[in-house]
Amino acid sequence: MPLVKGGKIADDTFTRLADDAPLPASGDILLSADRFVKDTDALLARAGKVGVIWPNSRDIDELVPHLVRLAAVALVFPTFRDGRAYSQARLLRERYAYRGELRATGQVLRDQFVFMLRAGFDSFEVKKQADAEAFAQTVKRYSVFYQPTGDGRVTALHRRMQLRHSEGVGT
């Protein structure tokens, strides 16, 4: 499953660790919420970055105290029809000011890239190679956005006000 990061296909530096797998001494690891919650201090004490895969049915509040020490949070789309992780992503970015890697995992398809970017995701475990390759081109598809989100894009309402203001100045 290709990873898209920084707008391009990239190597995944994280290794997914099964719940019963021994903890490697070093290296970046991505593990389940259960394991993370059970063993937080030990995990964060070791060398190497830690990322957690947070289910979309689990309250994000529980994760908040650990955010500063996490290098990655992976939110889950069990199917692309299940949109709970969009809310979780916006809360992490916009309310809890999480600045680490925010990864979309699960059924991540091309036609959701723009929504995901706007919600604050910056890395994507893309299900299909062709979709990963089409990332850069797909995210350029839209230039108009009606809603303000944490990605800071200028909304249509604001752009209108700017246009109106600049017209006003000229006359």
Binding site: G83, S87, F115, R141, S143, V144, P148
Partner: protein, 551 residues
Amino acid sequence: MYAYDEIDRTLVNERVSEFRDQVKRRLSGELTEDEFKILRLQNGVYLQLHAYMFRVAIPYGTLSSDQLRRLAHIARRYDRGYGHFTTRQNIQFNWIKLAELPDALADLAEVGIHAMQTSGNNMRNVTSDQWAGVAPGEIEDPRIWSELLRQHTTLHPEFSFLPRKFKIAITASDHDRAAIKIHDIGLRLVKNEKGETGFEVLVGGGLGRTPFIAKTIKHFVHGRDILSYVEAILRVYNQYGRRDNIYKARIKILVHELGIEKFSREVEEEWQHIRNSSLQIDDAVIEDIRSRFSYPAYEKLPHMPDELRQAAADPAFEAWRKNSVAPHKVQGYSIVTISLKPVGGPPGDATAEQMDALADLADKYSFGEIRVGHEQNLALPHVAKRDLPALWRALDKLGLATPNVNLISDIIACPGLDYCSLANARSIPIAQELTRRFANHELANLIGRLHINISGCINACGHHHVGHIGILGVEKNGEEVYQITIGGRADENAALGNLIGPGVKFEEVADVIEDVVEAYLALRERPEELFIDTVKRLGVEPFKERVYATR
């Protein structure tokens, strides 16, 4: 009329090109149907019994004559020459080809029409009063706020994959023509004691398998906060709405399971986090939207022009005027409802020829504007009273002057088993037979206001729960069976109807409805007591007795 600017046009065009690419990928096999289905639904494309069905949005029910002509063009060029107006200010085309849909969407985009989010588990077309901006006594034109919400809900990055569909309706009049109490969010525009605009917010209404009338969640949300408040409701719903069972996934179930107090506390808590964010709307933004609605330059006209006085001698004209013409906020003008319920016809259908002709009449008599109401009728919102006789003659020639608005043959019906893949029973033939039974105008007038609503399955697209008489088609042992309720209503006093007895066969439905109506005529206290009021006064029992005594 709201005029799209370059920004709106760009977005719609970007959407068309995205969908063109998606259709191409589907037809080449890059996308499976499982992956594609949600993408087509988000663009209004269903698969029905005979073909794909294409549902186009008419936001808050306002159309320009050019837009109506373009809908006629779609019917003619890509479909079979007609369209079907729905109960949520949409129009449906029944025979569209997937391969041609991108072209149809591109044609619509040229006149600022789209089909975004007319289906799928996202925020649907924002609906409003079809008399918005012209109804006397209206607090403010609700379309300004409808348009604000239309923009905010379009391609929302957080709420495009909700547990289930989500419908918002707005009204600004005492009499609710937008059926806000059967919506996921209903907004009633009000003024506070300082004279500021805001909304009473209702939540959790809806029909379907488990019908609920919406409950008030907050008595006053200031206009500047409406986006953040709606966003807070949606965020709670997106996270906690049920996704394990499609029949329990609507927000009404969440509200019901949590209780309105707990639900409103959740919303309140979320809202406090976001109300002072960039979602707050300043007056300039509202004024900018308002400035792109154009209002006609009305003339100063007499209340009772000679043309109208003379035409009053014609009983056919008077019959039509009495039920199709409503007061306008400007003296000398009227709002004219165009019945799409001809005797023996399918409710809500209009041919391409009728649409074109109506667009011409709108240009001639209504400042080029047409409205679409949830009762599946159209309206011309700004007709000078002196023009009423001429307009009536023209409508009559087109088969669009049936004098039955709000009468018993003004039936709301879903497409039913003739078209719909979800239906269990037919709706349209039932409606057609009823319009024949009650074709006599004197009889219909004697009965007075009476709304019949027909759905061909429990999903309730025909809003049967809130019909004064509701008819629900179900399937039993391979046969169509119809359950009949009475006492429902969709207005400001919204209520769900009650069953009057066992289901009846297809052939018997019209007889039973005739019996119900006869019972009403016998039971009413005086001629002015409407059917719905008699049912309220007496309950179901006396009707049940009379209707089922001989069955």
